[in-house]
């Protein structure tokens, strides 16, 4: 689940509002796809790959990603560094206090992106009456543009 960082911090870090393309070390690799999943008219799924265009490794946690609408308001959603279904070695209710990084990587909860490399990213959200559609995905050091479709 996407856990929003302090909105103000993020807003200050990446600026409010949408548009303007990607900012920071990450870029979409190709055009991400946004679609309405069958039978869930309020939901949208974004599926793509993000590449590291910087010279240093970028470490991300899915829980730190935050969707933002045009006004910079957080839009609740989920993110995973996966492009297909995977599940954990442990049931969610029986996980050890500290999971090995290998398990967190495998299950898409964290990503380590080496320079020039890319990882899959699937983000989903549900339409909210008091929020616009998300236009940016903030990851602390930058943001990625969310296309309309």
């Amino acid at each position: 689940m996407i856990v929003g960082l302090a909105a103000g911090v993020l807003a200050a870090a990446v600026g409010c509002g949408g548009g303007g393309g990607d900012a920071g070390p990450l870029r979409w690799k190709g055009k991400p796809r946004v679609f309405e999943p069958k039978g869930l008219p309020r939901d949208r799924v974004l599926s793509g790959r993000v590449s590291n265009e910087s010279l240093r490794r970028v470490d991300l946690s899915a829980g730190d990603l935050a969707l933002r609408d045009e006004q910079g308001r957080r839009v609740p959603g989920s993110a995973t560094f996966l492009y297909a279904f995977v599940h954990g070695l442990y049931p969610p209710t029986r996980e050890p206090k500290r999971l090995p990084d290998a398990e967190l990587l495998r299950t898409g909860r964290i990503a380590r992106i080496l320079p020039g490399k890319s990882v899959p990213l699937t983000v989903s959200w549900r339409g909210q009456p008091d929020r616009g559609r998300p236009v940016r995905l903030d990851y602390g050091r930058g943001s990625l543009e969310i296309p309309a479709r």
């Binding site: 949208r44 995977v86 954990g88 209710t93 290998a102 495998r106 898409g108 989903s124």
Partner: protein, 557 residues
């Protein structure tokens, strides 16, 4: 559901060697037994090979025999056995037992109080844990993983995790993992029904009965309940048989076998498990040349999953009923830590797979499970430990060369069957050339879809759902044989339903297909499900039960 790459390398004739780590729960690295050295045990009614009969009873066994055993011959036999009763607890008899002994359990409720009182982390076993460092050369990256009790731990401190433990390898330090003592043990209830003997867990110990390197174990004719993990658990065991047992109310698994071979599950009633009624995980690596575990005449219902098996290889399941679960049957390559990945070569035949619409993911159930610890739950209210697409009859996630034949699959409101790819990285595989090595060669043939046994229509939401991926058997030279559907039928005058609308026939074509990206990524959204914090992830339709499909009128021709 219980899961590192293809960790165990098949040697000649299928004997397997390298160890592998983990389950969907903390477990030590395990090895497949050499199936050539074992067999499914036969039921014994007399002493053979120097074995003895050890009798277990309770203070009220006589009363239970007289009031509860109706068959006069069985009643008299039980009364005769009373005079030979030497043990009050099953574990005590197991501890006293040697090879080929039969443990005869007279009517009663067996709570195994001494085992319950055993400490979970005994001081004398405090150094008997294994971590990655203890399995060098396997290529497993377990850095940071929690240490797990070793086999030596289980042998030395049998009741730390288990109410009843049968550990058969007397020499944990040697290089073989075979049974030396406590082999071919038979534990059976002596009543005239399995209701006469109840083995009751305390909802705290992980396992009620653990058969660990206990080759030839035979369990028969009792009821068992209330494990925190497995009611009945066979691990690294060559030859096992579960016969005429009701297993219920486990927090996770009613029956589970793992890296075991020569097994038979039969005449079982498995219900109300938080994960699966029956779980033949990390199954025999016969690679379609043989089926090492058979499951027949089982009735598995009201669980999250009726049958599941990560790396559920080499299983032959037939003439079973899987019904009223959230999902009827699954097999998969979803996770790491399961020897034998990717999953392959199970055969499911002549099963009834129906009405798997038990929505354990509703808001009400989510709230109940969040606020009620396992110990305090109504046992009939199952709390799911893993996520499944509720309303699915049979699901193959990242399996290869499975056969689904001659089953009757109906009244599953999402889909009768569901087939999709799972990337190799899901099982910890780091070789990118293997990424698409799952979901090929699965044959779904001659199944009756959407029709009850009486011939009346009772449709599935869709009969077949496929993500349209077909993987590589060997990248890049050998695409897998195309997944196929052939000779399936449905109610008279009605057409089979599927997504995609056209499904390939079984003509043996080999092809790589990358799959439908929207179907694939919509499944990915379901990975973030968490019963405490994210019960309904956006984009995932698994947790909303579809409306009941109505029979269609036959089309006029």
């Amino acid at each position: 559901m219980v899961r590192l790459g293809r960790l165990c390398v098949a040697l000649a004739l299928g004997a397997l060697a390298l160890p592998a780590a983990g389950l969907a729960h903390p477990e030590r690295p395990t090895h497949f037994p050499d199936y050539r050295n074992g067999a499914v045990p036969e039921y014994r009614t007399s002493d053979v090979n120097g074995g003895r009969a050890l009798v277990v009873c309770k203070s009220d066994s006589r009363e239970r025999i007289e009031s509860g055993v109706s068959d006069p011959i069985v009643k008299q036999r039980n009364l005769d056995l009373l005079s030979r009763c030497g043990y009050e607890h099953i574990q005590k008899a197991v501890t006293a037992a040697g090879n080929w002994d039969r443990i005869l359990v007279l009517p009663g409720v067996y709570r195994e109080e001494p085992s319950r009182a055993a400490p979970d982390e005994p001081a004398r076993c405090k150094d008997m844990y294994v971590t990655a460092e203890t399995i060098p050369g396997t290529g497993l990256n377990l850095e940071g993983s929690a240490p797990t009790p070793s086999y030596e731990f289980q042998r030395t401190c049998p009741n730390a995790q288990n109410l009843i433990a049968i550990t058969g390898d007397a020499d944990p330090g040697d290089e073989n993992y075979e049974c030396d003592d406590k082999c071919h043990i038979q534990i059976e209830g002596t009543g005239d029904s399995r209701d006469d003997v109840l083995v009751q867990g305390d909802k705290h110990k992980l396992n009620v009965i653990r058969a660990d390197r206990a080759d030839g174990i035979y369990l028969k004719n009792f009821t068992i309940e209330f494990s925190d993990f497995n009611n009945i658990y066979a691990l690294e065991t060559n030859g096992f048989r579960f016969d005429d047992i009701e297993s219920r109310y486990s927090r996770e698994y009613d029956f589970l076998s793992f890296t075991s071979d020569n097994g038979l599950y039969e005449h079982l009633d498995a219900h109300h498990a938080g994960d699966s009624g029956v779980y033949p995980g990390s199954g025999p690596e016969g690679h379609c040349a043989r089926y090492g575990i058979e499951i027949r005449n089982a009735d598995s219902h009201d669980n999250t999953i009726g049958y599941s098996g990560t790396a559920g290889n080499g299983i032959y399941a037939h003439d079973n009923r899987f019904h009223d679960n959230a999902a009827g049957m699954t097999t998969d390559s979803f996770a790491s830590g399961h020897p034998g990945m990717p999953q392959d070569c199970a055969k499911w035949e002549n099963n009834l797979v129906y009405s798997n619409n038990n929505n354990l993911f509703s808001n009400d159930r989510d709230a109940y499970c969040q606020r009620t610890p396992y110990e305090d739950r109504d046992p009939d209210k199952v709390c799911p430990t893993f996520q499944v697409p509720v309303g699915t009859g049979l699901l193959i996630g990242g399996g290869n060369e499975n056969i689904v034949r001659g089953n009757r699959i109906y009244d599953n409101w999402r889909s009768g069957t569901r087939l999709f790819w799972v990337p190799a990285s899901a099982r910890g595989e780091t070789d990118p050339s293997k990424e698409n090595d799952t979901s090929y060669g699965n044959r779904q043939v001659a199944n009756q879809m959407g029709v009850r046994p009486d011939g009346s229509a009772d449709p599935n939401g869709l009969d077949f759902w496929w993500d349209e991926e077909n993987g590589y058997e060997e990248f890049p030279t050998t695409p897998g044989v195309l997944n196929c559907w052939e000779d399936n039928s449905t109610a008279r005058g009605v057409r089979l339903t599927s997504d995609p609308a056209e499904l390939p026939p079984c003509d043996g074509t080999r092809v790589f297909q990358p799959g439908n990206p929207e179907k694939i990524s919509s499944q990915a959204t379901c990975a973030s499900w968490d019963p405490q914090t994210n019960t309904d992830p956006p984009g995932c339709d698994w947790f909303t039960l579809p409306p009941e499909p109505q029979p269609k009128k036959p089309s006029k021709r």
